[in-house]
């Protein structure tokens, strides 16, 4: 089912174009900056507002992870999603899709390879940035691990898988990269709004961004961990299925 040469080309495209440079710089920058910002935020604020008497609690390593998750969810994932929204629509607009689909490639293989390449790239970015962030947290705070950390990373991973499926979906739907990027941004914003309520976030496919914070402060019932994971993975599967259905009906 998977065309290895097509998957290889998809992965190569990330590395031969500025995509991987943009994503890796962003992910690694925030992996380093998050613990540093948490550690020195009090000093920064005191320096900025020197005339005010503000008392801040001493930062802990959990503040470093809080910063990391916040940056991952608000900046890294949106940029990753925007990159993903162009994977099909840009091929449609420049015409390269025709040269591939008129060869011995099924439409399922075409979409699947794009999806898998996205997941592989995201997995690498997440692993590297988590490792870098953990390393700097250890250096700055002397500790980095907390109960539920692995589960939090798994949640971030399934969140990335879901955004990959969302990116493929809007990219299949739209004819131009601009339209697909706008659709992707709108989808991201809508899912973030749903995260305002903790009750909804458990069942929101993008709810992981809120749950990782709950795990960090110890307010999340870990026996419910499988719910957001399953919901995100199932939603990804359904979204990919709909994308494939739409794609099979499209005239190229």
């Amino acid at each position: 089912m998977i065309k290895l040469s097509l998957l290889k080309k998809e992965l190569m495209e990330y590395f031969k174009t500025p995509k991987i440079l943009i994503l890796s710089v962003l992910f690694i920058f925030f992996a380093i900056a998050s613990p540093a910002l948490a550690k020195y935020m009090n000093e920064i604020l005191k320096a900025v507002a020197s005339d005010l008497e503000i008392v801040f609690p001493d930062p802990t390593f959990k503040d470093a992870w809080l910063q990391f998750y916040k940056n991952m969810n608000s900046l890294c994932l949106i940029v990753y999603l925007i990159v993903l929204t162009g994977v099909v629509s840009s091929e449609k607009s420049k015409g390269s899709i025709v040269l591939v689909l008129t060869k011995n490639v099924s439409r399922l293989q075409f979409l699947l390879c794009k999806f898998l390449a996205g997941v592989i790239v995201y997995t690498l970015l997440l692993l590297v940035s988590t490792f870098v962030s953990a390393y700097y947290t250890q250096i700055l705070f002397g500790v980095y691990s907390y109960p539920g950390m692995i589960e939090s990373i798994i949640l971030l991973w399934v969140l990335g898988v879901f955004y990959t499926a969302l990116g493929i979906f809007v990219s299949t739907l739209a004819k131009s990269p601009t339209t697909s990027a706008l659709l992707g941004f709108f989808g991201f914003a809508l899912l973030q709004v749903l995260n305002i309520s903790e009750n909804i976030s458990l069942y929101n496919p993008a709810g992981a961004s809120s749950i990782v914070n709950q795990i960090l402060v110890g307010s999340f019932d870990m026996s419910l961990f499988f719910i957001p994971v399953l919901i995100a993975l199932l939603s990804s599967g359904v979204m990919f299925g709909i994308s494939y259905y739409i794609f099979t009906k499209q005239e190229i």
Binding site: G95, L99, T102, N104
Partner: protein, 311 residues
């Protein structure tokens, strides 16, 4: 004669706009087949339906006897396709792109390697094989497009307007490549540049508004009697006057006199020539020059399309 492409009753309707209207077509195996028509005639839509990229509203398409289904990759081994504006991955080199294209088929690595070299030489891109495609001119991309369409050694190559956007040199280069494919592979290509089609095609079909107006070999089309003309140049004005009487003959359609030149259009050009020889002898007319005017495909195209528009 084996049929490489067979189309029966093909219709494509875009929300009431009929792009292809009940088209029947047979492309013989091994031929270079020209698909002619003005812009918007339905050429690209037809080629996309043959390639399985566009879904026909009705009708059937067969490639080498196998039915084409929209969206399916069943017949992909048999076809090569070049769209009117081919889009490449600019970050790849021609070798990388051809290697990628070939790897999508079940081609042995050593065979693919030698085929890439062969094709790059055929399309005259061997020297530029390692340059980024993003730096290529339109003509170079078009030549690379032909190479990628041939990578799987297809039975049928579908080329959509392969020369329409090229300068005269680029056009000649691409047409020479297509011409060199003669007898090796069936080439079905659309164009509105008639001189090119006339030069290299065995057969042509002319369509307009999605309908087939004419389909035949170039040889036969040129012999269509009602479009042949005879140009005669005489020595004196008196002789010209003697010849004007020929317009009364029932098979003569039109006689145009321009000083010492007489242009005669007739339904049966051979009958006219016999009759003229007789008149020349009887009237002692001195003929300076007599030429059966070569009818260009352009004349036929304009005549056929105009007749259709008037109808």
């Amino acid at each position: 004669m084996t049929e490489a492409v067979k189309i029966r009753g093909l219709v494509k309707n875009y929300n009431g706009l009929v792009a292809v209207n009940n088209l029947d077509l047979t492309v013989p195996e091994g031929s270079i087949y020209g698909f002619l028509g003005p812009n918007g005639a339905g050429k690209t839509t037809t080629l996309k339906m043959i390639a399985g990229m566009t879904e026909p509203t009705s009708g059937e398409i067969e490639i080498m006897g196998k039915k084409v289904s929209f969206g399916s990759n069943q017949n992909r081994e048999m076809i090569g396709y070049l769209p009117d504006v081919p889009g490449f991955y600019d970050w790849m080199s021609p070798v990388e792109f051809l290697n990628f294209s070939g790897s999508l088929y079940n081609i042995e690595k050593s065979v693919l390697k030698s085929r890439i070299v062969e094709l790059l030489k055929l399309v005259n891109l061997y020297k530029q094989r390692s340059k980024k495609i993003g730096t290529f001119s339109r003509g170079m991309k078009q030549r690379l497009g032909i190479a990628q369409a041939l990578i799987n050694d297809p039975k049928v190559v579908l080329l959509d307007e392969p020369v329409s956007a090229l300068d005269p040199i680029g056009r000649k280069e691409v047409m020479d490549i297509i011409s060199s494919l003669s007898a090796k592979v069936t080439v079905f290509f659309s164009s509105h540049i008639l001189a090119d089609v006339e030069r290299i095609c065995d057969r042509v079909v002319i369509i307009n508004e999605g309908k087939k107006l004419l389909e035949d070999s170039i040889e036969h089309i040129r012999e269509v009697p009602d479009v042949r003309e005879l140009e005669i140049e005489l020595e004196t004005k008196e002789d010209v006057l003697k010849l004007e009487a020929i317009k009364d003959l029932d098979f003569v359609e039109e006689v145009v006199v321009d000083n010492l030149k007489v242009l005669i259009k007739a339904q049966d050009i051979d009958k006219l020539r016999v009759k003229l020889n007789q008149i020349f002898n009887e009237e002692n007319i001195l003929v300076k020059k007599m030429v059966v005017k070569e009818i260009s495909l352009e004349d036929i195209f304009i005549k056929v399309v105009n007749n259709h528009d008037q109808a």
